[in-house]
Structures are given as structure tokens and as C-alpha cells.
């Protein structure tokens, strides 16, 4: 069912290989996008992370048996498909009991579109054009979300512990006092421990901004958070992935 262009394998003989900045995640993704070129670009970008991407250009194909039955980790659906709206397509898949996380793509980020997309069973919503790193990080976040419940009360990374009930952060037994925003930033990073999160994801999830301010909000807060986490002299936990985002992990 892998619908690749004939010259694809020849053009990229070395794939799949690890992405230089995000590593490899070995996932299977279904891309439903009518714009052929954009679809192959995305598939190409994803394969850079070791993600196996299957591309179809027609919404009706997605409803064929075997495609939406859970053999994919993430669905990437364009909102505007010929003959079928991406929103109603996902609705039909959800009715059939397909629980695969879905990411909506849209040409325009109109508010009404976004709200409708998220209410219609979508798990994430991004406005085209989307960078390779952004797409990779989001696909990975969606795939990992399945196995993880976000109501875990205790989060940790190495000797860093975050108690979500008492909203308390300790490192090596030492309590660290954080401002509310810093706490939320750390909480979000820990919820995605080991996975890259992009600037855009942080802006959306921590600050609630659907746009990218010119001011280095994320950088400034990350550097303050880093300083606070390393007050007791521990090794840095938050790592920068150049051009892609941040990841919290044990060295």
C-alpha cells in the first residue's frame, strides 16, 4: 500500500536514517493530502526522521478497509480534500472506532477552522506551510500521546521531580521555587520527556499563543528555567535542538 513515486527509492537510497537533530522515531503515518507535491514533500520530511509515510490523495481512499484500522500511528489530514472535507472524513473514521491521533493541515489558520477541527476529533491543528522539524515533533508528540495519560500526578527526569498535586518542584531533594509560567513550561517539557518540543508547540501549549512573537519569549523563559534547575549544581536537563526546539532528558 506504499504509494511512492517510481524514482523515490532511487533518489533516496540511504533512507530511512536518523534525523540529525531529532533522531529516529520509527512510526507509520498516513498522509491524506490532495496537493501531490506538498504530500511528497511531507513524506520526504518525515522519512528524514525514520517515519514511514503512506500518501493518498483522495479522501475516499482513506475509507477503504485496512487503512484506518489502527495500522498507523498518526493520520495527517488536509482540511480541504476533493469531494470530501477532511473534517467529515475524520468524523466517519471516528464513527468506525478508529482512535488513531489525527493532525489537521490547513492552508489558512482561520479561528473558526481551527475550533471546528479540534472539536471534530482532531488532536492537533497546524497551518501550512509546516517545517520538517515542526511536523516531525508534532507527529511524534501525537504518537506518544496515545500511551501516556496526562493525569499522571508525578513527573520526573533524572533527579528532578515535579509533583502536580502540590505544584512543587524538587531536584536532588532540594525544593526549587518557580514562577507560574516557569512551572507550566517545565510541566509541559516533562510531559513530553525525551521528545523534542518546538517553539511553536511551547507557545501554543504554555502561553496559549497561536502566533510567533518576535520577542524571544521561549528562549528567555527556558534560560531562566535552566538557571533555576541548575542552582544546586546538577547537570543540565533541558537541551536545545538547534533550529528545532527543546527536549528534556537525562543527559
Amino acid at each position: 500500500m506504499l504509494l511512492l513515486p517510481p524514482d523515490h527509492a532511487a533518489a533516496h537510497p540511504a533512507r530511512p536514517r536518523a534525523h540529525p537533530r531529532l533522531g529516529r522515531f520509527a512510526l507509520r503515518v498516513l498522509i491524506i493530502e490532495d496537493d501531490v507535491e506538498a504530500a511528497w514533500h511531507m513524506a520526504d520530511d518525515l522519512e528524514g526522521f525514520g517515519v514511514e509515510a503512506v500518501v493518498i490523495h483522495d479522501g475516499a481512499q482513506a475509507l477503504a478497509p485496512g487503512l484506518g484500522d489502527g495500522s498507523f500511528d498518526v493520520l495527517i489530514i488536509d482540511r480541504m480534500l476533493p469531494g470530501c472535507d477532511g473534517l467529515s472524513l475524520l468524523g466517519q473514521l471516528r464513527e468506525r472506532g478508529v482512535e488513531t491521533p489525527a493532525l489537521f493541515l490547513t492552508a489558512m489558520g482561520a479561528v473558526a477552522d481551527r475550533v471546528a477541527g479540534l472539536q471534530g476529533g482532531g488532536d492537533d491543528y497546524v497551518v501550512k506551510p509546516i517545517d520538517a522539524e515542526e511536523l516531525g515533533a508534532r507527529v511524534q508528540a501525537l504518537a506518544r500521546r496515545r500511551g501516556r495519560t496526562s493525569d499522571t500526578t508525578a513527573l520526573s527526569c533524572a533527579d528532578l521531580e515535579l509533583d502536580r498535586l502540590q505544584r512543587r518542584v524538587r531536584r536532588g531533594g532540594q525544593t526549587i521555587s518557580l514562577l507560574p509560567l516557569e512551572y507550566r513550561l517545565l510541566e509541559f517539557l516533562l510531559l513530553s520527556r525525551g521528545q523534542p518540543v518546538t517553539r511553536k508547540m511551547l507557545l501554543e501549549q504554555v502561553w496559549g499563543f497561536r502566533f510567533d512573537p518576535r520577542t524571544n519569549i521561549v528562549e528567555t523563559h527556558i534560560s531562566r528555567l535552566r538557571a533555576k534547575l541548575s542552582e544546586g549544581g546538577g547537570a543540565p536537563l533541558i537541551h536545545t535542538i538547534r533550529g528545532a526546539g527543546y527536549v528534556i532528558q537525562d543527559a
Binding site: M108, A112, P129, D212, P213, R214, I217, T220, G243
Partner: protein, 461 residues
């Protein structure tokens, strides 16, 4: 903007002037004036001719009475005349008399008629009555006057004038009422047309003027159809412009992003050569700037192309969130940031409102020197909230304020500072989408940017 009916327009003082400026009103006033003039002329002519006819009749009456009196004194002698006058005065039947002796002394009748002493027709007063009198000399000296009472005629003329005035007033009223009723229909439709035009001016390019009967258009339908055709063309052009902008920004973004990624890789590989690495870093910063400009352009096109957002947004929360997000960066730049908040709700989209606050704050932070004090203020203003971002930096000269709001209108003085130049244009565009007004005032010194929102509780028609 609600459509204004002519009645509503006439009730407001400004509306009254607008009402008077209308062609229909002026034509009506002219018609009324002509009608009043016509009634006046007709009334005057009628009264003149009636007066002439009755004058002739009264003269005949007077001459008849005189002839009968002449017979009397010719038959009985002049000496008997005072008795005849006294008798006829007693048996009053519409005539008054005056008689003087050969020496000019009063003999009989009404004293004022007796005092006339001049031959011919006169209109003297006899007591309190106006009379038409004829005086003739008596043989052997003295004067004899016979007068006809005109009171009845006067009353009749007064009644006639009153009747004419009444008819005139009723006529004018009917004329005005029918003309108003027929014109009002036209006015109402013209009002619909002008309120459509006002909506279009406010940015609603989807609005069209109503056409009552497209199959057989009357003159107003013709105007509406022409107006709509013009709007179709304008919105098609605007749409094309927007699409071209979007397409260019969209298509350029991917190759630029890839170029930037390659540049990054080059930078990493060139780490052993500090000079090259520094160059690459500068190039990278420039690329980021270009990408951001395209993003801003896409966003501008998106905001301008989107429908008016209608959610209730807590302006205070949004402003606080943005202020706290930007605070560390602004303070690290050596500026102070103060926030004064009142609870306020606006109608719109919280993302766009947040974006506007971000842009205003970034504008204040980027175009001012270190040490500048920035104040963010949200005021409730009893339902019509305002957001104010004020700094005490160099400010913007009055002449350049419009330019600052236009896309690409970055000011010459701050051209060295990086920026896409679209920040305030995006704020202006967001303001327009929210029915809000963006004002750039002089804070003496500094810039005082204000977003004045409409009342959120009023229905956003």
C-alpha cells in the same frame, strides 16, 4: 451600523440638516410655497372682483335712496327734509344720512356724515360703521349725504379670506403628505443603499445592496445593480491581490526554510573557521527576518480575509498573559514595564487580541532606547474598553503616523532597527476586524498607542 430611516434622521439635530439637504425635501418645500402663492393670488383676485361687484350694487342702492329722498324734498320742500331724515333714521334699513343747513350748521342725521360737506363718493365712518356715502349740494346751500352700511360686506370678506386660508392649508398639507409618502419609499431604499456602502467601507466586501426587482429594475435598482457590479469587480481584484500575496509568501516560504536549514548545516560545518561561521550567522539572521516578513504578510492577508470574530474575550486576562510573557525580555532590555488593569470584556478573537497586544508591546520595546518606561493600561470605560500602550521614548512625528499604520510603513528614523515593518499594520488590521479604533497619540514625549473597542454588550450588527 444600523440603517437610518428618514424619520429617525429627522429627529436628530444633525439628521434635520441631512433631511433638509435631500432633494425631495427641497422639491416639497418649493411645491408647498407655490401652492400657498397660488391660493394667495386666487384669493386676492376673488376678493377684488367680489368687492367691485358689491361696490357697484351698493352705489346703485345709495343713488336709489338719494333719488327717493330727492323726490321727498322736491315734493314737500327742503324745509321738510330734516323730518324725513329723522324718520328714516329711526326706521333704519341700512342707510345713514347727514344734513347741513345753508350756513353749514348741522341739521339732522349722523354728525360725521353731515360734516363731509363735499360733493361725490366717500367711505367715511358713521359712528362705528363703515359706510359708502354720496354727498350732493342742496339748492339754496347746505349738503345732503346718503350712506350705505358696509359692515355686512366686511364680515363676508373676512369669512371668505378665512375659508380661502383654510382650503390653502389643507391643500398644502395633503400635497406634502402624499409627496412625503411617495418619497419616503425612495428614501428608505436609498438609505439601504448607503448603509450597504458604509458596511463596505468598514471592510465588509461581501455586502451587496438590495435589489427589489432584478428582472425589471427601477431607477434605484439600477443604481444598486451598478453598485453591486462595481463591488463584485473590486472584491475580485482584492481577492486576487490577497491570493497573489498569499501565494508568493507561501511558495517562497518552503525554499527559504530549506535554504535556512542548509545554512545552519554550513554554520555547524564551518565552526573551525570563525570568520566564515560569523558570516553564516549573520546570513541566518537575515534569513530569519525574511521568513518572518513572509509570515507577517501571510498573517495580514489571513486577518483581512477572515470573518469578523464574535467570541467574548477577556481583554484583561489576555493583556496580562501577554504582558507577563514579554516582561522578562523587556526588562532584560533595560526598560520598565508597568501594567494597570481594569476588568474588561471585548467581542472578537483572543488570539488576534493577544497578537495586537504583543505587537504594540514589541513596537514600544523595539523602537525605544534602554531606560524607557512602558505602561500597559486596560480601562473598562463602562462597556467600551480601551487598551493603551504608552512609552516615553522618542515617539512618532504626527506626519508619519499614517505611514506607520500602512504595510511596510516603517519609519525612516528606526529603519536601522530590524523588523518587518508590518507590526502596527497588523494591529490596525486586527483593530478593523474588531470594529475597534487604533489611535497613535503623542505622549509628550513618547508614543501613546490606544485600541478603542466598541461596546461588547451591544449586538455587533
Amino acid at each position: 451600523m444600523s440603517s437610518r430611516t428618514p424619520d429617525a434622521a429627522a429627529s436628530a439635530p444633525g439628521g434635520l440638516r441631512r433631511f433638509w439637504r435631500r432633494t425631495g425635501t427641497r422639491v416639497l418645500a418649493l411645491q408647498a410655497l407655490a401652492l400657498v402663492l397660488a391660493f394667495g393670488v386666487a384669493g386676492a383676485l376673488a376678493s377684488v372682483s367680489i368687492r367691485q361687484i358689491s361696490e357697484r350694487a351698493y352705489r346703485a342702492d345709495v343713488l336709489g335712496e338719494l333719488a327717493s329722498m330727492d323726490d321727498e324734498w322736491r315734493h314737500k320742500g327742503v324745509g321738510h327734509l330734516p323730518f324725513t331724515v329723522a324718520k328714516r333714521s329711526r326706521l333704519w334699513h341700512g342707510f345713514e344720512y347727514g344734513l347741513t343747513g345753508p350756513g353749514g350748521g348741522y341739521l339732522a342725521g349722523d354728525p360725521s356724515l353731515a360734516a363731509l360737506a363735499r360733493a361725490g363718493w366717500t367711505r367715511p365712518m358713521a359712528g362705528r360703521r363703515l359706510v359708502l356715502a354720496y354727498t350732493e349740494p342742496l339748492p339754496g346751500g347746505g349738503w345732503f349725504t346718503v350712506g350705505r352700511d358696509l359692515t355686512a360686506e366686511q364680515d363676508q370678506m373676512r369669512d371668505l379670506t378665512a375659508l380661502l386660508a383654510l382650503c390653502g392649508a389643507v391643500g398644502v398639507a395633503i400635497c406634502l403628505a402624499t409627496a412625503y409618502l411617495t418619497t419616503r419609499w425612495t428614501w428608505r431604499r436609498l438609505d439601504e443603499l448607503s448603509s450597504s456602502a458604509a458596511l463596505v467601507t468598514a471592510g465588509r466586501l461581501d455586502v451587496r445592496a438590495p435589489v427589489k426587482n432584478p428582472a425589471a429594475p427601477d431607477e434605484i435598482d439600477e443604481v444598486s445593480l451598478a453598485f453591486n457590479a462595481m463591488l463584485d469587480r473590486v472584491s475580485r481584484l482584492v481577492g486576487e491581490l490577497r491570493r497573489v500575496t498569499m501565494d508568493v509568501a507561501h511558495d517562497m516560504r518552503r525554499p527559504l526554510t530549506r535554504l535556512r536549514q542548509k545554512l545552519e548545516r554550513l554554520g555547524r560545518e564551518a565552526q573551525s573557521m570563525p570568520k566564515v561561521a560569523a558570516q553564516v550567522q549573520r546570513l541566518d539572521a537575515e534569513f530569519l527576518e525574511i521568513l518572518r516578513t513572509f509570515d507577517a504578510l501571510l498573517q495580514l492577508a489571513e486577518i483581512e480575509g477572515s470573518a469578523r470574530p464574535e467570541d467574548l474575550v477577556n481583554l484583561t486576562d489576555v493583556t496580562e498573559r501577554v504582558t507577563e510573557a514579554l516582561r522578562p525580555d523587556i526588562e532584560e532590555g533595560g526598560r520598565t514595564l508597568e501594567a494597570v488593569m481594569e476588568p474588561a470584556i471585548v467581542r472578537g478573537d483572543s488570539d488576534l487580541v493577544a497578537q495586537a497586544v504583543v505587537n504594540l508591546l514589541e513596537n514600544a520595546a523595539r523602537h525605544t532606547p534602554a531606560g524607557t518606561q512602558i505602561v500597559v493600561r486596560v480601562e473598562a470605560n463602562s462597556g467600551a474598553p480601551s487598551l493603551q500602550v504608552r512609552d516615553n521614548g522618542p515617539g512618532i512625528p504626527d506626519t508619519l503616523k499614517n505611514l506607520a499604520l500602512a504595510p511596510w510603513g516603517r519609519l525612516e528614523a528606526s529603519r536601522s532597527a530590524s523588523g518587518s515593518g508590518l507590526g502596527l499594520a497588523i494591529v490596525a488590521s486586527i483593530a478593523e476586524r474588531h470594529g475597534a479604533q487604533l489611535e497613535l497619540c503623542d505622549a509628550e514625549p513618547g508614543l501613546d498607542a490606544r485600541l478603542l473597542f466598541p461596546d461588547a454588550t451591544a449586538d455587533g450588527a
